[in-house]
């Protein structure tokens, strides 16, 4: 599997680095431009709004471009001639799908970390405030603790894996059902329907089993009891407002993990046993 991942990385890194370079150039240009403008203008709040808007647009564009490319790379295997190489390698379906998934995840994490760090550096250079890192981090950890960060990262990873697996499954089942490339767009409809059904299932399950776990205290209860508990422990109205970030419905999270694993295994099975090229 690692061997195949190596070739996946080699096949995609030029595009990813290209996207990254573009983002870093645009980000730098944005910081330089707004730094100049804010030095000469008094309308700070409006400019800040535009700055944040453009930054979000760049990040959204990056995420979308990367996502489409990664999704396209799987589609290529199913519809183009390289599938004749990939699907005749002595690899199981799970190994092929797993490699693509892991490499996609590595790229998303890599892009997220590099772009995040780059923005931090840009802020240090262009924002005219003396920053004391120890103070900054201690202030940061007063607001958010490490468990909360880890939990959020895990949730983001689970969400990315979940979406990718639903896409891979939709594409594969569409390919297995219809060999014709011209109706290849069918996968997107399947993806929407499947995502809708999975989300609906998650909501229903959380209604049936309304038990949540508090990530900070690992206490289990309904939303009401956890809320009270939280208030009693912390006696802090601001933190209790962050309840949604710190708690998760146990049943729907387990359901989401099970669905993701089943769709992954299903895709692997279809790739290995059912695809007709």
């Amino acid at each position: 599997m690692f061997k195949y991942m190596k070739y996946e990385v080699r096949g995609t890194y030029r595009y990813i680095l290209g996207v990254l370079s573009l983002v870093l150039i645009l980000t730098t240009a944005l910081y330089i431009y707004f730094n100049r403008v804010t030095n000469t203008s008094s309308e700070m709040s409006a400019l800040e709004g535009i700055f944040i808007g453009l930054s979000v647009l760049i990040l959204f564009g990056t995420a979308l471009a990367t996502f489409l490319y990664i999704v396209g790379s799987f589609r290529k295997e199913l519809y183009e001639d390289t599938g004749y190489l990939t699907f005749t390698l002595p690899l199981t379906g799970n190994q092929i799908v797993g490699s693509k998934l892991v490499v996609a995840l590595i790229w998303f994490i890599f892009l997220g970390v590099v772009i995040g760090l780059y923005n931090l550096i840009m802020m240090l250079i262009f924002v005219p405030v003396e920053v004391n890192f120890s103070e900054l981090f201690s202030a940061l950890f007063e607001i958010v603790n490490i468990k909360q960060i880890l939990f959020s990262v895990l949730l983001i990873i689970l969400s990315i894996v979940n979406i990718l697996v639903i896409i891979y499954f939709s594409m594969t089942i569409s390919r297995v059902t219809f060999r014709n490339k011209r109706i290849g767009g069918l996968w997107f409809i399947l993806f929407l329907v499947l995502s809708g059904l999975i989300i609906y299932g998650g909501v229903k399950i959380s209604e049936i089993f309304p038990y949540y776990i508090d990530i900070n205290t690992f206490k289990i209860g309904t939303m009401d009891t956890l809320d009270k508990l939280y208030m009693e422990i912390n006696d802090d109205i601001v933190l209790s407002a962050d309840m949604d970030i710190l708690t998760t419905n146990i049943a729907s999270t387990v359901y989401m993990i099970i669905v993701t694993v089943l769709l992954f295994l299903g895709t692997g099975y279809l790739v290995e046993k059912k695809i007709d090229l």
Binding site: K3, D81, T88, K273
Partner: protein, 232 residues
């Protein structure tokens, strides 16, 4: 002699078309077998099933006694009728990929075939001509010491010089302990290397046998039998 390929009652149907109809075929170890037939006769369907790219509708297909899967893919060296290598690669990358995935890949043999084909390792895949692609693909496939080679139309669409080079490479590098399955409709160019022939028409085997025995029996070359059978 042991059969490397055993096919029993193989049928492949698409929605409204039967591509292969109840095929029975055994291929012995060490034989070079030509699957002959015009376009649309089911040749490519048959070998795609053997390569693990298509699933049969019914019937049994065994390679070295195993159902088609990861195990058989590791002992089959398959040449598709298209450019299957990743576009970002150089020839050296393609060689490394084969080295990584196939334990039977012989790098020295690959280098020899490559220089015979007059190809350089630093050439980029997407800059190769049709003939060069065919030569490279064949170099990779023949550099493996596989139990079964499957070549789909290895000389189709290449010029006569490249065709001769490709045929020479096959003859010079074929391992006699292995078996080889070649599909072609260019019978005249390939008939000298075939031990057995299988004539396919509209998904049915209409004639099969030892190439030399068929020549003697019918008093004509395989190419002429082909023309007679398929009415060309």
């Amino acid at each position: 002699m042991k059969n490397i390929v055993e096919i029993k009652g193989l049928t492949k149907k698409y929605l409204n078309k039967t591509a292969l109809n109840n095929i029975n075929l055994n291929i012995e170890e060490g034989k070079v077998v030509g699957i002959l037939g015009p376009n649309g006769s089911g040749k490519t369907t048959l070998i795609k099933i053997l390569a693990g790219l298509l699933r049969q509708t019914s019937g049994e297909v065994l390679i070295d006694g195993k159902n088609i899967g990861v195990d058989t893919k590791s002992i089959v060296s398959y040449l598709p009728d298209r450019n299957f290598l990743y576009k970002w690669m150089k020839i050296e990358d393609a060689m490394n990929l084969y080295k990584d995935f196939y334990y039977d890949f012989d790098e020295k043999k690959f280098n020899d075939i490559l220089s015979f084909m007059k190809l350089e390792k630093n050439m980029k895949i997407d800059s190769l001509s049709k003939g060069m692609h065919e030569k490279l693909n064949l170099s990779l496939i023949l550099a493996r010491n596989a139990k079964l080679y499957i070549l789909d139309e290895p000389i189709a669409g290449v010029d006569s010089v490249a065709r001769d080079q490709i045929l020479d490479a096959i003859i010079n590098n074929y391992n006699e302990k292995s078996s080889m399955l070649i599909t072609t409709h260019l019978v005249r160019d390939m008939e000298s290397m075939l031990d057995e022939v299988v004539f396919l028409k509209e998904g049915n085997i209409i004639l099969t046998g030892n190439a030399e025995a068929l020549r003697e029996e019918r008093g004509m070359q395989i190419d002429d039998i082909y023309k007679e059978v398929f009415g060309e």
